[in-house]
């Protein structure tokens, strides 16, 4: 009986079955807040429509729905579930919360039962294989409901001033080994603290990025072992411009998925982390050529966004 709400939408039923609308309704206040709160960070990797479209897919990933990381224990999942229920249960939010709560209940049921969770993990394993599992502990987890955007620290730019950790200690941690700050827990502090911490960064290396970009960025920013030749090279490196790298990474993933879908009957190939890395390295090289100075490139980026930003 693994039939879910997806099949229901095939029956053109009344409005109760449109997940996207609820998602956007939920995310709106946060959008507004971000705009007002951080006028400085003007760049965005996407637009609202893209988010909305993505939301339908988001509903499928129970971890994202509950706003927990894939390695969360039962206790964390329970807590996240309760917190979300408190906000969106129809008793609190009215009839609009119905559809969302249904999803929550389903997600909770699956993730709380060990066997169902294993099965589910296997079914979404492809996604995790790409970036998350290889980097456990280095990616940020979520506090509270899923929101359209998350924080990302460009560790290349970070000068290790610890200002952000000082202002929002639950959200940021300082990586002593690498000498830079990183997001540990999205929305770990209240909104004001986060706002202050973002503004406090002297090199403006804390960015608001679209949710769907976040895992890619977090994967790419990690130093990867570099193959050495004799006594030359070796050590660790990461893309000089992680945003560019993410862009081409996504493009490739998209192309690949597209190709995969067109060959509908063929068995889905899972991309190994090694392949993902290879792709990332390739895109990184392209970027390296195009780039000269970190900051100049960066400003360019901010002034001329790539994903067709719409001025609203």
């Amino acid at each position: 009986m693994s039939v879910s709400a997806v099949s229901i939408s095939q029956f053109s039923l009344p409005k109760a079955f449109q997940v996207e609308d609820h998602f956007t309704a939920i995310s709106k206040p946060i959008w507004r807040w971000r705009r007002q709160g951080c006028p400085a960070s003007r760049f965005r990797c996407g637009k609202r429509e893209a988010w909305k479209m993505k939301a339908t897919n988001m509903g499928k990933n129970y971890y994202e729905l509950l706003g927990v990381s894939v390695d969360s224990n039962a206790q964390k999942i329970k807590q996240a579930y309760r917190n979300l229920q408190k906000k969106y249960h129809p008793d609190v939010a009215g009839q609009e919360g119905h559809e969302y709560t249904l999803k929550l209940n389903e997600a909770y049921k699956v993730l709380m039962r060990e066997n169902l969770r294993k099965e589910y993990d296997a079914s979404i394993g492809e996604m995790r294989g790409n970036y998350s599992s290889s980097s456990l502990g280095r990616t940020s987890s979520w506090n509270g409901p899923l929101r359209p955007q998350g924080l990302f620290v460009d560790e290349n730019a970070c000068i290790g001033c610890r200002e952000c950790v000082h202002h929002a200690s639950s959200t940021f941690i300082f990586d002593e080994a690498l000498g830079c700050a990183r997001v540990k827990l999205q929305y770990g502090d209240d909104e004001q603290k986060i706002e202050v911490s973002v503004d406090s960064c002297p090199v403006n290396c804390i960015h608001w990025v679209e949710n769907e970009e976040l895992p890619v960025l977090e994967f790419l920013i990690q130093p990867q072992p570099k193959e050495g030749f004799g006594i030359f090279g070796g050590g660790w490196e990461r893309p000089a411009n992680v945003f560019m790298a993410a862009k081409s990474f996504n493009k490739q993933t998209h192309n690949e998925n597209h190709g995969r879908n067109s060959r509908a009957s063929t068995v889905e190939e899972e991309e190994t982390p090694a392949q993902a890395k290879a792709r990332a390295d390739a895109s990184r090289k392209i970027n390296m050529e195009a780039a000269s100075g970190l900051f100049s490139r960066f400003w360019q980026w901010q002034n001329k966004p790539f994903w067709g930003e719409k001025e609203e």
């Binding site: 009986m1 693994s2 039939v3 709400a5 099949s7 229901i8 095939q10 029956f11 053109s12 039923l13 009344p14 109760a16 206790q75 329970k78 807590q79 309760r82 917190n83 229920q85 408190k86 249960h89 129809p90 008793d91 609190v92 009215g94 009839q95 919360g97 119905h98 709560t101 249904l102 209940n105 909770y108 049921k109």
Partner: protein, 569 residues
């Protein structure tokens, strides 16, 4: 436009939106209509307050007397003495009879009550009547409950100095959805709008969640509690997981057993042929039954505090009972009832997938919680040495209902006392008739609400163009053992060999427990339903529903049957 004096719960489509739109205006009051006692509570801005009647009582006996033209209930009318209730003019125990048909064993056991309960055994509503001036005046359980609710409403309006419209009612967990519609109808007759119908133990769970949230505000640790609620008419059990003001109902179990059964068993013990007293329905017989009833009730109450009691009663018809009853006897004659209570607890723990050592608190509430045997039974079944002490057993349910009323009315409290939520679960499984005469559950019991599940069925015969969807609620394997909720026909199934057309049945329960049944036909390879999907709000059955299933069977036989599709998981 003036506000309508009352809203009527319609039999057909009353959408959830309509239900909700009228709510967020005033604080809804909580009402606990018990089989024997009623109470009203409201959130007064800082805490739950029980409302008292003009005689300064928090608990009012649930009965209505039909002495003259205007029936009066136990809220306002002053009774001369206990026996006056038993003159045949007072109707009580309606919570046991509401929404039941005359083939129901609970109705049959109510025949020993000192008023007229006439059954014909054909699956229709029993005839209930009160004796007024030597005339049997017929009434209905809904009417009796409504009269009582009107008095409760008037009392609350005087106390709160504002009109009352929205209420949260507590109901037994074992109530079928059809019985809920009867309660809603009674509320509509009384001009009340039902915001929520809460199973009694879940109301207690909400109170427990509030007490816990205020004790340790920031610890996110989860506490599991077992709630055992036994009143005069019903016994309910719930297992709840509570953390941070959120009470998550893990499982519910309930049965129509209660103090009334204890009382009847005891009456039978004292006077073995007590049932024959009512056969002639004469005035003297009613009086005799009434006297026996009062004497037995007093004896049971005494046995809660002392080990034996002297029963000394003259029934007026030449029979005198003079007997010493001890607690052991009482427990022996009621062994079946106690066994049933224990089995409910075991079933509930099993459904919740909780072991007794995980349970941190055991809460026993309701009128029967004073009986020593009940306490010891619950403790031994849960392997606990003591019970939770922070609640008044008689006021817990109504207090929880008042909290829910405040939460559902959109109130918030500066100190966070109303930062609460109950996540409800379905008390009974809901499914349809398929595979012959079998009940196929689609939403199992103890599923978190809101819930939406679907299951695929197919035709039982070649070239079958129509199929009957008959929806039941209950736990039995065969449909006869369950409550019928409604039925409708799907037409226009494309002609195909049996097993080919897919009939997808979706059940949707929203947070206010409104059930919708959707059914559509899909042909293999297509994702579009062949015809418009049928969407029916249940229950659709009316009072004579005991007949419906049989009538359907007689007319259609098995020609419109469905079978389940085996699916690989």
């Amino acid at each position: 436009m003036a506000e309508p004096a009352y809203t009527v719960a319609s039999d057909s489509e009353t959408t959830g939106e309509e239900k909700l739109s009228a709510t967020f205006s005033e604080t809804a009051i909580g009402i606990d209509i018990g089989t024997s006692q009623c109470s009203v509570a409201v959130w007064n801005g800082s805490q739950v307050e029980l409302l008292k009647n003009t005689r300064n009582q928090k608990m009012m006996r649930s009965y209505v007397t039909f002495k003259d033209e205007n029936p009066s209930g136990g809220v306002s009318s002053q009774l001369a003495n206990e026996q006056d209730v038993l003159s045949g003019a007072a109707i009580f125990n309606m919570k046991r009879l509401i929404g039941r048909v005359d083939t129901d064993p609970v109705v049959h056991s109510s025949k020993s009550l000192p008023f007229l309960v006439q059954t014909l055994g054909i699956g229709v509503r029993p005839l209930i009547a009160a004796l007024v001036n030597n005339v049997w005046r017929s009434t209905t359980p809904e009417e009796v409950v409504a009269i009582f609710l009107v008095e409760l409403k008037a009392m609350a309006e005087i106390r709160l100095k504002r009109p009352i419209k929205n209420v949260v009612l507590t109901i037994p967990a074992s109530f079928s959805r059809f019985q809920l519609t009867r309660i809603e109808r009674a509320c509509a007759m009384a001009g009340l709008h039902v915001l929520r119908l809460m199973p009694e133990p879940t109301a207690v769970a909400l109170l427990y969640a509030q007490q816990n949230a205020s004790q340790n505000t920031n610890t996110g640790s989860e506490k599991i509690a077992l709630i055992f609620n036994m009143g005069a008419g019903y016994c309910d059990v719930a297992v709840t997981a509570t953390a941070g003001g959120v009470s998550q109902i893990k499982a519910l179990a309930g049965s129509a057993i209660g103090g009334e059964d204890l009382l009847q068993n005891m009456m039978r013990h004292l006077l073995p042929d007590s049932e024959s007293l009512l056969t002639s329905c004469g005035l003297d017989d009613i009086k005799s039954v009434g006297l026996l009833r009062v004497a037995t009730q007093e004896a049971i109450h005494s046995l809660s505090s002392q080990t034996n009691v002297q029963v000394d009663v003259d029934l007026g018809n030449g029979t005198k009972i003079c007997k010493v009853v001890d607690r052991g006897e009482f427990e022996e004659v009621n062994q079946d009832v106690f066994d049933k209570c224990a089995s409910l607890i075991i079933q509930c723990l099993h459904d919740a997938k909780v072991d007794t050592e995980d349970v941190s608190d055991v809460i026993v509430v309701g009128g029967c919680s004073y009986i020593p045997k009940i306490k010891s039974l619950v403790m031994s079944t849960c392997k606990k040495q003591e019970l939770y002490k922070g609640m008044n057993p008689l006021e817990a349910a109504v207090s929880g209902a008042a909290l829910e009323g405040a939460v559902a009315s959109g109130l918030s409290d500066p100190f966070g006392s109303l930062d609460l939520l109950t996540i409800q679960a379905t008390p009974l499984a809901i499914g349809i008739r398929a595979d012959g005469n079998n009940f196929v559950p689609i939403i199992p019991r103890s599923t978190t609400m809101p819930a939406q599940k679907d299951l695929i069925f197919t035709t039982a015969h070649d070239n079958q163009a129509e199929a009957l969807i008959i929806v039941y609620e209950g736990e039995g394997k065969k449909v006869e053992e369950n409550h019928l909720l409604g039925y409708f026909k799907i037409t226009g199934i494309p002609l195909a060999p049996k097993g080919v057309p897919e009939i997808r049945v979706i059940l949707d329960i929203d947070a206010s427990s409104v059930l919708r049944v959707l059914a559509g036909v899909l042909m293999p390879g297509s994702h579009q339903p062949v015809n418009p999907v049928m969407g029916v709000r249940m229950p659709t059955v009316d009072d004579g529903h005991g007949w419906c299933a049989e009538a359907l069977n007689r007319v259609y036989g098995s020609t419109l049957d469905l079978v389940t599709v085996q699916r690989k998981i």
